[in-house]
Symmetry: C2
Subunit: 441 residues, 2 copies
């Protein structure tokens, strides 16, 4: 007999499996996000993973174009896997604008694919978790976007976080007052490097690319380095942009966002004005925002976004302004793990019902069903194996309770409920098992 040829079970480079202990907190995070998004009236949508290639290459940068997974489908069409959820949103909004009605508030949680260089520690498949309000330039939408992130951070369990906002018009206003309005791209690019390269190098770059004088660079660096409470920063930035209509309007908008944030009951301390935030050069046009965890600043922003003037100009002549943000799912999960906000259970059920006496299967099934009816997740071990084997399984999987009943206990109408954390156990009548389990959880 020839040995059957085995295929090596492996995942593609840059891709990963999500086993239960990883997937359980991921699902919980997604559920929390959905719950908060919904509470603000954002509605779910989904779009195909595959799109016409022209849809995807139309909007992306050279870098995303290069990373696109593209091929010809069975009908010879040029197609690609989506690399983000913004391009599909733009295509979707343009295609269905009539039926949707504006403003249109949607969330979208789905995988995207990029043929990235995996040496940078990046994955080629990852989940994005976006929410956007399309079709309005309203202040209320700016405030709501910040509030959603605030509520979400708290719902996840983070207490020490800071939402950092800026307005693209503030810097543009400053550039107007400095007479550097034509060089905004060069200035933004230089200032973006402040944290990494330091003031001297940025000063040199400002001189080289934007022709900035020392005095102009001083003001730009002073602006980018402003710190303090939101009120303090605005009090410093306001005078710097005085005389620029756009600059003044943008500072006013930031004051209004701050006022709305606190009116809704959020703590003012959790919102900061940070003039160093730019978030890319072209796409965003108004409020921009990032979110950092006070205990893990190095992890970077865990929720970022901003306001744009024109979502779908490539696909429609209808101008669709909007504002949105995206959760950094992998960063959030890493942070939650580091801060002890996730467990390591490999099971979503609370209790393992130990299967002892083979001829009493019906009793165990009934017991497990009564636990579930009470809201206690209950797995019945499928085989009548030794207690030790089943308790080892319970331990490995991370069950919190074991419900144990041998033939004698069943005959007396009783079972033991054992806490696997403390090892303590209580004997109770079978019909009280659900209430006792609930108490122990």
């Amino acid at each position: 007999m020839t040995k059957p040829q085995r295929i090596e079970p492996r995942t593609l480079k840059g891709f990963r499996d999500y086993p239960p202990e990883v997937m359980i907190p991921r699902e919980r995070l997604m559920e929390t996000a959905r719950k908060v998004y919904r509470s603000y009236g954002y509605a779910p949508i989904d779009t195909p993973a595959l799109e016409y290639l022209e849809i995807l290459t139309g909007k992306g940068s050279d870098e995303t174009d290069k990373q696109l997974y593209r091929f010809k489908d069975h009908g010879g069409r040029d197609v690609g896997l989506r690399f983000d959820l913004t391009v599909p949103l733009a295509r979707f909004a343009a295609q269905h604008a009539q039926q949707l009605g504006l403003p249109f508030k949607r969330y979208h949680i789905a995988p995207v694919w990029r043929g990235e260089n995996t040496q940078r520690g990046r994955y080629r498949e990852f989940v994005q978790c976006d929410f956007d309000t399309v079709g309005t330039t309203a202040l209320a939408s700016d405030i709501e976007t910040v509030l959603v992130i605030h509520d979400l951070m708290r719902a996840i369990g983070f207490e020490r976080f800071t939402i950092r906002v800026n307005h693209r018009g503030v810097l543009n206003g400053l550039l107007e007052t400095l007479g550097l309005a034509e060089c905004s791209t060069e200035v933004l690019r230089a200032l973006d490097k402040l944290t990494k390269m330091g003031a001297d190098k940025v000063r040199a770059e400002l001189a080289a690319t934007a022709g900035a004088s020392d005095e102009q660079s001083d003001k730009l660096l002073a602006f980018a380095g402003v710190t303090g409470s939101a009120e303090e920063v605005l009090a410093i930035v306001g005078p710097l942009v005085a005389g620029s209509e756009r600059g003044e309007a943008s500072v006013t908008r930031l004051y209004q966002v701050l006022a709305g944030f606190t009116a809704a009951g959020a703590e003012a301390d959790r919102l900061r004005i940070d003039p160093s935030i730019a978030r890319g050069l072209d796409y965003y046009t108004g409020l921009v925002l990032e979110t950092t965890l006070d205990d893990l600043p190095d992890i970077g922003s865990v929720a970022s976004g901003g306001r744009y003037d024109d979502l779908a100009g490539l696909y429609t002549n209808q101008t669709l302004p909007g504002i949105g943000a995206s959760l950094g799912v992998d960063r959030l999960l890493a942070a939650m793990e580091e801060l002890g906000l996730v467990g390591d259970a490999r099971t979503p059920a609370d209790a393992l019902v130990v299967f002892f006496a083979e001829d009493r299967l019906g009793d165990y099934l009934k017991l497990a069903a009564s636990l579930r009816t009470a809201g206690v997740g209950a797995e019945l071990y499928p085989d009548a194996k030794k207690l030790g084997v089943q308790l080892k399984y319970a331990d490995k999987k991370g069950f919190r309770l074991a419900v144990i009943a041998g033939p004698d206990e069943l005959a007396r109408g009783e079972c033991q409920i054992k806490s696997l954390a403390t090892g303590e156990s209580t004997t109770v009548p079978l019909n009280e098992a659900p209430a006792t389990a609930l108490k122990l959880l």
Copy 2:
């Protein structure tokens, strides 16, 4: 000025967008499925959409091979998009067997892709929703699989449904007693056509392909056509397989599944033994099951599955038996819609907070936040437009309540809560708005 070139916003043939009114019930269904799966200890996993081509073509049939979306990735690897969740489960179980521990209970809800002929009304991207217990041949797992479907149907809101089970060994036992054991494939193939083609044509095919005599065909057709309660069917089928060890054991197993189903508190009427269920020719080896809705029999099975001997033989020499089933997500949603189990709301929020007085934005934000804190989803209309515009928006989106407060009402610390179904409205103090809204929902 030249007009900018627009790209036509469109989805690929065979693909579809899910707008809010479609996605809201889909998400609710997935959440119900997750909740029931978890309550039995099934844990979530996810796997990459892209796999090495050899993983996917190893297990699939010629038909799935032909439908595979395949291409070369950036590294020149032959890759493909998964066409189901069973092959990835087999690969996953083989790859991680050591760390997982057996039995391994997982659910997996994710999209799959098949380059199907769309003329058959099929989509090229659809969501599968599977659960499996891997690594045990236990009776308890058979019973639990049936119970999961039972609980899920009820949790969705179906009351009139029938889970139809069979055991592959029953027919094989009958074939043994008839001396037709060598022709099981031919017989299965012929019997599978009974509903479509009628008894005479099946009789002819049985004679032609399996060489069955009239007497043999009579018994096979009598067997396939048996009806009645589970007990009645078993009482008829039992004697037909008497003498075949496998047949007798299979009938016993069906009796035990029935006993376990009712022991767990399910109504016996909801489980039927249906000898006509075969579910494919090769993969399943034990219990097989389908689920039909009594009010919509033509829609076909909405949850199907069965027991297999060897999940991952292509990828490992470890024998992994198991049992699992899959929800027909699109069929279930179509049925839910037809039976009035889904609404047509385009928003997941309950209440629209009307934005009246532009200078009172803070009051509206506070009001909306208080509703959310009480568990009432509340969207704030972003612009201070006319009441009529906002109520039309509320109506189009399907909000159930509008919360309305003009400057005078705000000055008095009051708001109106209007039911959009009945048109009735109540004026209450602002701090009682959440409680009143909850009462009206």
